[in-house]
């Protein structure tokens, strides 16, 4: 009964630890170290509701899925909404998508308490041992929501022209500190009365040296520029940690 129970529990977790009756024996450490060459680079994708985070994630999966081993964690407040979108879009094997519940607080799940997201990343790493990249897509939130560095190695903040050309000027940690700011839906700029020159100038002024990309998934469904940026992050991660141990 006892042995059976233990077997069951370990089976659920996908790893095993023999019971050792020697009190001086230390067990193996099942947790990945904070930064290891054997783990994939984790890129956070955040931004306000409706700015196009999921569409960008789908485009990146479509463009990079054949050249990189990648997986996605989604944090939509409606839990499975984004995961379902990605599964139906057919851009990724459903096993490579994990959805987490955020308890109605999307920023908490990516910043203050990253437990559920780390669990999801670890499940994906256990399932696919040679992942290059995990995209962690935040639920739509406000301009102050950023990813914890304990969860995302680098992060993308997505805003869109329809949200108003004042957004970059308003600042907030998302706009000012994300490693890449994507100004999305630029094809709509004229129709919503957004001044692209002002928007991009504001973005650069607020962000100093940090990268800014203007993007339209209608005109470029492959999200080519953002995909190139992601490729560079993967390459830099590999160079920084040396050849993969796996």
């Amino acid at each position: 009964m006892q042995a059976e129970h233990q077997h069951h529990v370990h089976g659920q977790n996908g790893h095993r630890h023999p019971v050792d009756f020697d009190p001086t024996a230390a067990g193996p450490d099942p947790f990945a170290p904070a930064a290891s060459g054997s783990r994939p680079v984790r890129i956070g994708i955040g931004g306000p509701v409706g700015s196009g985070k999921t569409a960008l994630t789908a485009a990146l999966c479509r463009t990079l899925g054949s050249e990189l081993e990648l997986a996605v964690v989604t944090n939509d407040i409606y839990t499975t909404e984004d995961a379902d979108f990605l599964r139906q879009a057919g851009v990724l094997d459903p096993g490579r998508i994990e959805a987490v519940q955020t308890g109605a607080c999307p920023h908490t799940a990516i910043r203050d308490d990253i437990t559920a997201n780390l669990d999801a990343v670890e499940r994906l790493q256990q399932r696919y041992a040679s992942l290059d990249l995990v995209l962690v897509e935040s639920g739509g939130d406000n301009l102050t929501a950023v990813f914890s560095r304990g969860l995302a190695d680098v992060q993308v903040f997505v805003v869109d022209v329809a949200g108003g050309d004042k957004v970059p000027r308003k600042g907030g940690p998302g706009v000012t500190t994300a490693d890449l700011l994507v100004v999305n839906k630029v094809d709509l700029a004229e129709r919503v009365g957004a001044d692209m020159a002002v928007m991009l100038a504001d973005a650069h002024r607020m962000r100093g040296e940090l990268a800014v990309l203007a993007q339209s998934l209608t005109e470029d469904p492959a999200a080519s520029a953002t995909a190139d940026w992601v490729r560079r992050q993967v390459a830099e991660h590999r160079a920084a940690v040396g050849p993969s141990a796996e």
């Binding site: 630890h17 407040i77 109605a104 799940a109 203050d112």
Partner: protein, 235 residues
Amino acid sequence: MTAMPTVSLATLALADSRFPGGGHAHSGGLEEAVHRGTVSGPEQLAEFLHGRLHGAGAQTAVFAAAAAHAAARGVRPDHWSLLDAELEARTPSPAQRAASRAQGRGTLRSGRAAWPSRALDELLATTGSPHHPIVVGVLLGAGASASPTDAASVVAYLSVSGPASAAVRLLGLDPFAANAAVTALRADTERIAAEAARTAGHRPENLPGASSPALDLLAEQHQRHHREEVRLFAS
């Protein structure tokens, strides 16, 4: 025991809703109760919390106290798998077992950074993904920073503070009323923690078992609804 024991910082940190152990995404059945219309205001929340404290709260308090007692006196590693298995056996709902292990894993991850100990490593090595109250008990007992009563108090409090916070988020309840509903349970919480401390030295198989069938059913129904429609909380 002194009349006014000092509360350790570890006890306060573990009971803090800002402790990064994954608890914020769990409602302890409250979301399902809201969905059914069972809880819609402060009065029903108070009743829900009372039931949850005496069910899940009392059960987890017993095992947190036992784990703290075991960690403080130093036990062989196989004690942890016994304790974990006995709590598993007293938790009939698979959804609640999964929620407890998820929070146990999260609390362990945080706890290893804050309060590393040999007992914690042995708990991890023998159980893989231990139940939440056992992790709390080991964290508090291993450093001898807190008593079994403290460990029981923490998990008894968390059994109601989490659902109360979920009620604020789901129903837009007055946060002062929700907090007052938690603090109104002071006498019950203290009694439950004291009772848990009394059985803390029992062998794992002889620890008391509390049953709360309604919470078991809410947890199972919550999981079922997850597959059909929107749920914001993991439990």
